[in-house]
């Protein structure tokens, strides 16, 4: 016999707070974006400190008798710098905290993992994208990616608020599993890193064009001339994919295990499964291409952009064009 659920347990105050936090974080990210663009346009192109290995300062002075030689000089790493960029980084960090607070309050408001629908996924992907950017900025001094990462983040957030918004509520029984924490988190993290890689790859292709033009002695317009070194961007893009690819693999496998538990098969060629498989193959092809003579550089970059296109199609296209078992997501 049927038992009726006693109302849906949604905390309206927390839910409201969470909705306001979305607007707050969009505002803060937008300001940070403005500052990053300002830095890119008006900053001075400088060598990045700390990316060069043998300038290890203190120990160098101590070991004056240690003579080091490298067969190939390390590539020059240059990017546009300006003091407002530092403020932009701080604003990005504030935005990240607001983003995190939004996710936490929404999760508390509905009493479940806060990724059960498209709106919640997009917010979480933005969190991971910005976090991956901050990681790259600290670890690889890739602060110059700020503008290129925040543009897609703001676009996604705009789409989320305008078209994907759904009010707080419980999820369908199929999503009521601890696997949502494992499967979806891994894929959201991977998507964030892929997004940074995609931004870096587009910047790489632009920067490479600039460098080719400069090598030919042609005039290059101001902003294009201030792009970071192509080689540097290529390396960042590769590193982000190296981080994201195993996460994606793990996420897809976790999804297969969950599907085995929920739907009775671990792989059933559902459209979402097909496109996550395609995305995986294309990024695998990218990793192979980078290790194949004649495919490095722009060719590999285009492969990774195709991969990113598949990823986006998997997220938006599959949900709106096809009906499948993943129709709630």
């Amino acid at each position: 016999m049927h038992v009726l659920a006693a109302g849906s347990a949604v905390d309206p105050a927390l839910s409201n707070l969470s909705d306001n936090l979305v607007l707050g974080m969009i505002l803060v990210y937008a300001v940070a974006l403005f500052l990053f663009v300002f830095e890119a346009a008006y900053g001075r192109r400088q060598s990045l400190t700390g990316t060069r290995l043998v300038a290890v300062g203190a120990s160098e002075a101590e070991n004056s008798d240690l003579k080091v030689s490298l067969r190939e000089q390390e590539p020059e790493a240059k990017a546009s710098r300006h003091v407002v960029g530092k403020i932009g980084m701080a604003m990005t960090a504030v935005g990240l905290l607001l983003n995190l607070a939004q996710i936490v309050t929404r999760g508390l408001a509905v009493g479940r993992w806060p990724w059960g629908n498209m709106f919640e996924f997009v917010i979480a992907i933005c969190l991971c994208g910005v976090a991956a950017f901050l990681f790259a900025a600290m670890r690889y001094r890739a602060h110059y990616l700020g503008a290129f990462v925040l543009v897609p983040v703001l676009l996604l957030l705009g789409i989320a608020v305008r078209w994907l918004y759904s009010e707080s509520g419980p999820v369908v029984p199929a999503l009521d599993s601890y696997w949502i924490a494992i499967h979806v988190s891994a894929l959201i993290l991977a998507t964030g890193a892929f997004m940074v890689s995609g931004s870096a790859t587009i910047t790489y292709l632009l920067a490479r064009r600039t460098e080719v033009k400069q090598a030919l002695g042609q005039q290059v317009s101001a902003i294009a001339a201030k792009l970071p070194s192509a080689e540097l961007l290529d390396r960042i893009a590769h590193r982000m994919i190296v981080l994201a690819f195993p996460l994606w693999t793990f996420g897809v496998i976790a999804g297969a295990i969950w599907a085995d538990e929920a739907w009775g098969r671990y792989w059933g060629w559902d459209p979402k499964e097909v496109w996550s498989f395609i995305t995986w193959i294309v990024y695998a092809a990218y990793l192979h291409a980078r290790a194949t003579a004649g495919w490095q550089g722009p060719k590999a970059a285009w492969i990774s952009l195709i991969g990113f296109g598949c990823l986006l199609f998997n997220f938006f296209g599959v949900n709106y064009l096809f009906s499948g078992l993943h129709s709630y997501a």
Partner: protein, 519 residues
């Protein structure tokens, strides 16, 4: 006489063996592997655009009805069975051959490398990607002792005036493991097609089901499955509960499903109970039982003109998929004279009148269950020998006798001729999926091995380091360090530099100590 014509210089003809060698080299090249990877991705796309028989046979049938000209052409290219089509199999089998052909020689080379000593120190270390040199008062033996301490985790070979050290073998091991695991995964999937089976069962509350071929509504055995010898378990559905969001914008969305089962592993085993939920299948004797869906089975009692009960049972009605469980079904009453009775009906779990005055269901739960029947009298055609669907009424040899008023639980409909049909209530039913796949654990093991291999191959950095120490003419020891990394990037260079700096510092410290001891 004419001059014999000069034959053009022909390219050296390849022998069959030569051609085979050439084909093998092309197939196992990275370029071919890349192209095959792209084909694999491209080939997967139509499978997501077109309905697939492996996913939903009905959708494929609908596509055939909607596109009668195009569908047969697409079908000729297996586009409704993409993932089991010969051309897709050709792509992935070629890829597997290419992969194995590429990986096995690498595995062999890696095995030999693991058995061999780290390579002899090159004469010129200053030609290495990283090299450093310094002088120290320590003896070469002291230098080597310190270097060994710093080269923990490396395999070290002593070549007299130098040490050769190597680390990061796990990268190539991971690479081999990853690729072979993918092959293992494919083999596991293939095993499922041979030794697994799956079947669908509809089970009404209080009814039971024994795992035999005849119990299934649909049964899909693997090629090597003996359908007569499947696991002999037995399951009864004691109770099913569904709860729905009652109010707000998400009203009507399902909140939870729960089926209470009693089961036996085999006919002689004791009864056990299990709560079957969406993410909580029942595992019994190597098979999994999943809750796929649910619905309503209204119960009817038919009494003939003499007052005898000739029919009293639950009849599963199929959900139309309108979100509120408006369901259609058929009631067949064969054991009644003089003529058989048949009904088509609509079940409305929460009947209400909408704005147009039509009777509809406004909620998925059974708040106000009602049934509307259309009656037929005549020959049901059950004795013709042709199998009939229980969800279809064959009215060719029957005569319509009209529609009932909406019936609430307990209402009766008096039929012409004196018989009556009473809507006595409803029971829930569940649809279950039974799946048996002996290769599942191997698929999981392959997947786990693939991830571990992938992590190793992406993050382990194989490096070779050489440390040479020789007495110079002035009696001081000249230390040379060379580093060679197999991966790109600055990280290994940083490691080499760290090593050189530390070695230098440690030796200076011991120099200082020696000096102090002398004084």
């Amino acid at each position: 006489m004419t001059e014999p014509q000069q034959a053009p210089p022909a390219a050296p003809a390849l022998s069959p063996l030569g051609w085979a060698r050439w084909a093998w080299r092309v197939l196992t090249s990275m370029r071919t592997a890349l192209i095959l990877l792209f084909l694999l991705a491209l080939g997967a796309i139509p499978g997501s655009l077109l309905p697939q028989r492996g996913v939903s046979v009905e959708e494929v049938q609908n596509y055939f009805l909607e596109h009668p000209d195009l569908a047969p052409v697409l079908d000729r290219f297996f586009l409704f069975d993409v993932y089991s089509s010969p051309w897709y199999a050709a792509i992935y089998l070629l890829l597997v051959v290419s992969l194995v052909g590429c990986v096995l020689p690498r595995a062999g080379a890696h095995y030999r490398l693991l058995r061999a000593r780290p390579p002899k120190t090159p004469r010129r270390l200053d030609r290495m990607p990283y090299s450093a040199t310094f002088e120290t008062d320590a003896t070469p033996e002291q230098v080597f002792a310190e270097a060994r301490g710093l080269l923990r985790g490396h395999r070290i070979a002593d070549y007299g005036d130098s040490l050769s050290a190597e680390t990061g073998y796990l990268r190539e091991t991971g690479n081999v493991v990853f690729h072979l695991s993918l092959v293992g995964l494919l083999v596991s999937v293939a095993c499922t097609a041979f030794f697994g089976y799956r079947g669908n069962v509809l089970l009404i509350e209080e009814d039971a089901f024994a795992n035999t071929l005849t119990s299934y509504d649909a049964f899909y055995p693997g090629i090597a499955v003996d359908s007569a010898k499947i696991q002999p378990f037995w399951i009864r559905l004691d109770e099913f509960e569904a709860s729905f969001v009652e109010e707000g914008g998400m009203a009507g969305q399902a909140a939870s499903y729960r089926a209470d089962l009693t089961y036996r592993e085999h006919p002689d085993a004791p009864e056990e109970s299990h709560i079957l939920e969406v993410n909580h299948p029942l595992r019994v004797d190597g098979a999994q039982v999943y809750l796929l869906g649910h619905g309503y089975a209204p119960t009817f009692r038919v009494t003939d003109a003499d007052g005898h009960v000739v029919f009293d049972q639950a009849v599963p009605f199929l959900d139309r998929g309108d979100g509120n469980f408006t369901s259609d079904g058929v009631v067949k009453v064969p054991d009644i004279a003089p003529e058989q009775l048949g009904f088509t009906g609509v079940f409305l779990p929460s009947a209400a009148t909408d704005d147009n005055g039509d009777l509809v269901s406004e909620f998925p739960d059974a708040r106000n269950p009602m049934v509307v029947l259309k009656g037929f009298v005549g020959d049901l055609g059950l004795d013709s020998g042709n199998p009939q669907s229980v969800y279809q009424l064959y009215t060719k040899r029957m005569e319509e006798i009209g529609d009932s008023a909406p019936l609430a639980v307990g209402d009766r409909w008096e039929l012409p001729g004196g018989a009556t049909i009473e809507f006595t209530g409803y029971r829930d039913y569940v649809t279950l999926l039974v799946a048996s796949d002996p290769a599942r654990p191997y698929a999981l093991a392959s997947a786990v091995a693939a991830v571990l291999g992938l992590l190793c191959t992406l993050f382990v950095q194989p490096r070779r380091v050489w440390v040479r120490a020789r007495r110079g003419a002035d009696g001081r020891t000249v230390v040379e360090i060379g580093g060679l990394a197999k991966t790109e990037g600055a990280a290994p260079l940083r490691r080499f530099h760290e090593l050189a700096t530390q070695l230098n510092q440690r030796l200076r410290r011991s120099d200082c100590q020696a000096d102090m001891e002398k004084e």
